[in-house]
């Protein structure tokens, strides 16, 4: 039980070396396992290339900067689409979560709409936006939007009613109630919805980038697949996973941690 009191704990931010080490070991093990599996030769290497082949691909892809360009192009589309989904999703989520009529009508469709694969939105995207960046953005938005709505609605509905009562009693209503009480109260759940929306946005982007072909991660993935270049497919997968892990580490995890700490949910 007894631990020496560490007066430095808390305010100072120190690099958590132990954590970094553990992570490094984990990823090293993954790599080793992958290489070992590839070496056994159970699967031919054109179907299951080892890390070296993929590393080669990554080096040459980044070397001729085509991967850089693809990442920038795709990330830009992703961020624009995601931000639009975020704003629209939060607004609709609040409306559905708070208004019985909208919930019964529009809300009953959200689960079904979110289940639609992104290709379904492509004809509409072309119809409305032509062969343009906006068409891709539209597909990304339709991919992530309903997922974010689901999260916001859940957050709003799982808010302990006592907060709402207290707020209404203190004269809060309408927009201030939504922004100052419902959203913050729902924030822990909303954040999860945002994470889900983020993954949907990626997946939709991969479909959207096939509306017409450009150098982009979606394009690279499709080309890799069409040419049965498994190493390229895996390289793109690694890039997506790495970006996901980075966004998680830079953005979502600290945000969630802060919210949990402040809400008193941290252990």
């Amino acid at each position: 039980m007894a631990r020496a009191l560490n007066p430095a704990a808390g305010p100072t931010i120190s690099i958590p070396w132990a954590k970094v080490l553990r992570k490094t070991i984990f990823f090293a093990c993954l790599l080793a396992l992958w290489e070992a599996l590839a070496r056994t030769g159970i699967w031919p290497d054109y179907l299951f290339p080892g890390p070296l082949a993929v590393a080669d691909k990554l080096i040459s892809g980044f070397g001729d900067s085509s991967f850089f360009i693809a990442i920038l192009v795709s990330l830009r589309r992703l961020l624009i689409g995601y931000c639009i989904s975020l704003v629209v999703g939060v607004i609709f989520g609040l409306l559905i979560g708070r208004n019985k009529l909208i919930e019964e009508t529009l809300g009953s469709l959200v689960l079904g709409l979110q289940a639609l694969p992104s290709v379904c939105w492509i004809p509409l995207a072309i119809l409305w936006f032509g062969l343009s960046e906006q068409a891709m953005t539209f597909v990304v938005v339709m991919g992530a939007l309903f997922s974010i709505i689901l999260g916001v609605v859940a957050g709003v509905k799982n808010t302990p009613p006592v907060y709402l009562k207290a707020a209404r009693n203190m004269g809060s209503h309408g927009l201030p109630l939504a922004l100052q009480v419902i959203l913050p109260a729902a924030l822990p759940t909303i954040l999860t919805g945002l994470k889900q929306g983020w993954t949907f946005a990626w997946r939709s982007l991969m479909a959207a980038e096939l509306i017409y072909i450009t150098v982009s991660l979606g394009g690279l993935l499709d080309t890799g697949r069409n040419l049965n270049d498994t190493a390229q497919v895996i390289a793109v997968m690694l890039i997506i996973i790495a970006i996901g892990a980075a966004i998680d580490a830079i953005f979502f995890t600290p945000l969630e941690k802060r919210v949990r700490e402040r809400w008193g949910l941290a252990r």
């Binding site: 006592v162 907060y163 009562k165 207290a166 707020a167 209404r168 009693n169 203190m170 004269g171 809060s172 201030p176 100052q180 009480v181 913050p184 109260a185 924030l187 919210v259 402040r262 809400w263 008193g264």
Partner: protein, 286 residues
């Protein structure tokens, strides 16, 4: 970090008052209010018919056994819960929903976890559009009043039970409502802090002439603070007895008359509970 002396904080409050027009309390009329809850298909009668008139600026204390519907009644007055029957009028107007003229201090503190103590206290002020500096000033005064100076930037989960309760008291008082509905506000406080807050509350009440409805389990507290003490029967709650307390203020808890009155009320309370138990009615029917 020097703690303010009591007299100092007291004067701070009167200073806060000066900025608002202290319009005083408003009268409440409760007519035939009753409440029945449904629990998994079973009906639980929480309140049987309540008729009650509270004058503007009156300090009414409510005593009653656990689960007799006291919190429910306050909620109904606050407009946060619908009565199953009957009406509540505040200042002659039928209550249709919550309003900042009637502020309910919840039995559980109900602090917003995403705001620190100061943010919580400022919340109500923000809703009526008071500027940031003025808000901070008022909040500071009430935080001092409840002896939470130094914890302005703590979050609810970093406070002790009693500190949370005090923060909630500051939040309610800062709004300066015409009617204060207080549900066991001092339940989690030590005797001394409680005494001090009695004094503060009485001071605020006597300056601003708010209407106060005060639920407590402490008979002496009721006698020390109330103009009138209502005793509720066990569930379904109804008013079984009403005591007018005419002792001069400030009252001392050591005063013999007061102690005797408390004893009298306690015996009425016990009687009400025991008689009901003999009838074998729990207020819960299948």
């Amino acid at each position: 970090m020097q703690q303010q002396t009591l007299s100092h904080t007291g004067s701070a409050i009167s200073a806060a008052r000066h900025n608002k027009s202290a319009e005083g309390g408003i009268p409440l009329q409760i007519r035939g209010v009753e409440k029945t809850f449904s629990q998994r298909g079973r009906l639980v009668a929480a309140l049987s018919t309540i008729d009650l008139d509270i004058a503007a600026g009156e300090f009414v204390c409510i005593l009653g056994p656990s689960g007799c519907g006291k919190s429910t009644l306050l909620s109904i007055i606050a407009g946060l819960e619908e009565a199953s029957g009957g009406t509540v009028q505040a200042d002659g107007k039928v209550v249709q929903g919550p309003g900042t003229d009637r502020i309910l201090l919840f039995q559980e503190a109900a602090l917003f976890p995403w705001l620190d103590v100061q943010g919580n206290v400022e919340f109500g002020l923000r809703q009526v559009g008071i500027g940031a500096r003025e808000r901070a000033r008022i909040a500071h005064q009430y935080i001092e009043l409840v002896h939470l100076k130094g914890f302005e930037h703590s979050y609810a989960h970093q406070l002790s039970g009693g500190m949370r309760q005090r923060a909630a008291i500051a939040r309610a008082l800062a709004i300066d409502p015409a009617v204060l509905l207080m549900d066991e506000p001092f339940g989690a406080l030590d005797a001394l802090t409680r005494d001090r807050l009695h004094t503060e509350l009485e001071a605020i009440w006597s300056t601003t002439r708010k209407t106060v409805v005060f639920v407590t389990h402490n008979v002496r507290e009721a006698v020390a603070l109330g103009d009138r003490v209502l005793v509720f029967s066990p569930r379904p709650g109804r008013i079984v007895h009403e005591f007018h307390i005419d002792f001069p203020r400030p009252r001392s808890l050591e005063n013999h008359l007061l102690v005797d009155k408390a004893a009298e009320i306690l015996s009425v309370l016990s009687e009400a509970m025991e008689s009901q138990e003999k009838e074998g009615d729990h207020g819960a029917r299948a």
